[in-house]
């Protein structure tokens, strides 16, 4: 009743892909026979070493600043661009195509690649990391917002034209209020992702709590590592809660 004959083929194909992927990734549950090692290792993480807490908090604030600045500058740049990258608001077919190509090009470069290039060119520190996050987010948010614009109700846009408003203004006023809650929603998700990204960028010298985690790990200071991880978890949870509050208030 619920399954067509063709879905059996799909099912078999999925099994095949899972098997092939396991082969490729050396997926092997028998390795858990040495599970004791993991417990031994993790037991070295405790008790937490809290002597560095003030500096960890300082680094966390730096990480939050990197993530916020990178993603928010990304949103600011992406907003006007996304109006060019949506077919219903683009001033010309040519501009529409060009901006879409540029956006997908920027999006296809991972933050870590931007980071490696910028950290080499501009020197170590958080500033290149902020730029790396910003560039990638221009690509991602530009695409997401332009899709929101394309899915918006064309009625208000027509009304604004009928009133005699200029095209750009008509688009802005009729579309932005419609999509604003979804834009914020997407932004908060990207902010969360940017926090995780800034950790990785810390590993390659971008600063913040990511760099501290990496250094503590590489110097075998596991009681410090456990506190780093704990603080990171708290940051992510708090930002998630904050995002929910803002979204509720806006909608």
């Amino acid at each position: 009743m619920w399954f067509k004959r063709s879905s059996i083929v799909t099912f078999l194909l999925l099994i095949l892909f899972i098997y092939l992927s396991m082969k490729q990734t050396e997926f092997d549950l028998s390795k858990f026979a040495d599970f004791r090692n993991m417990i031994d290792f993790l037991s070295q993480w405790f008790p937490m070493d809290t002597s560095n807490l003030p500096r960890i908090i300082e680094d966390s604030i730096l990480t939050l600043a990197m993530a916020f600045l990178g993603s928010f500058l990304g949103l600011l740049v992406a907003l006007p661009i996304s109006f060019l990258a949506a077919w219903n608001t683009a001033p010309s077919r040519f501009l529409y195509q060009i901006t879409r190509v540029i956006l997908s090009f920027v999006r296809s470069i991972p933050e870590i690649v931007f980071g490696l290039i910028l950290l080499t060119a501009l020197g170590l520190g958080p500033f290149p990391a902020v730029l790396a996050i910003m560039f990638h987010n221009i690509g991602v948010l530009g695409k997401l917002v332009s899709e929101l614009i394309e899915a918006s109700d064309p009625g208000p846009q027509e009304a604004m034209k009928a009133v005699g408003a200029k095209n750009g203004l008509a688009n802005l006023f009729s579309i932005l209020p419609q999509i604003w809650p979804n834009v914020l929603s997407n932004y908060f998700y990207r902010f969360e992702v940017a926090i995780r990204t800034s950790l990785i960028l810390g590993f390659i010298g971008g600063g913040g709590i990511g760099q501290r985690l990496f250094n503590d790990f590489k110097t075998f200071q596991y009681p410090a590592v456990s506190l780093d991880v704990f603080v990171i978890m708290i940051i992510v949870i708090v930002v998630d809660l904050l995002g929910n509050i803002v979204r509720k208030r806006v909608i």
């Binding site: 009133v163 005699g164 200029k166 802005l172 009729s174």
Partner: protein
Amino acid sequence: MLDIQNLSVQYAGNDQAALSDVNLSFKRGEFVCVLGKSGAGKSTLIRCINGLLKPTNGEVHFDGKAITMLNEADLRQVRREMGMIFQHFNLIPRLTVLQNVLTGTFGYRSSFRNLIGWFSSEELERAHRVIADVGLTDQTKKRVERLSGGQKQRVGIARALLQRPKVLLGDEPVSSLDPGTSNHIFTLLKKIHDQHQLLTLINVHDVNLAKRYATRIIAVTNGKITFDGAPNDFNEEVFELTYQ
């Protein structure tokens, strides 16, 4: 005041013309209802008048200007003299009644002032007056998505009124409202029409509404004008022909 000459519209990928060779002339003070089946070309006709749609052929003249020949900037100047109301109201969601009504002034103001939202006390006063005219004073600060259908259309009318229009266009403004509310909206439109001596052009599905309020009825069938005359002359026979 408004002349339509040899107007034809052909949509891409469509064999039949949406409008073919339409000739009409309107005077100030006329309250015209346009009748016709869905897809007969009523909306196309209305949208050619304020240039939301470019006709394939023919011309529309308004106060001596050929709308179909105007550039974007001049077209905007013509549009602000024509208020338009819509079937789905086309209000801007998440903005209040007052904010929505104030967008009616956009055609008269600089982009910068519109963007900042800087309105003169005269503009605000007029906005409050038109909101009172449509009977929504109590709802001024309310967001439009919290209003009923009839109230939403009143906001649409207030927005159009704030343009100080010479022409009022309506694209099936009561088609998504119940009969009682439709009647109220038409009474309001008629009152405003008489008060400002407008030229009013409205698409309707309800023949009885048209006969009660219009001073002139036009019927469109398959893109052609098949009736143009006094409401009393729109008889059973014409009805059959229009809605066959």
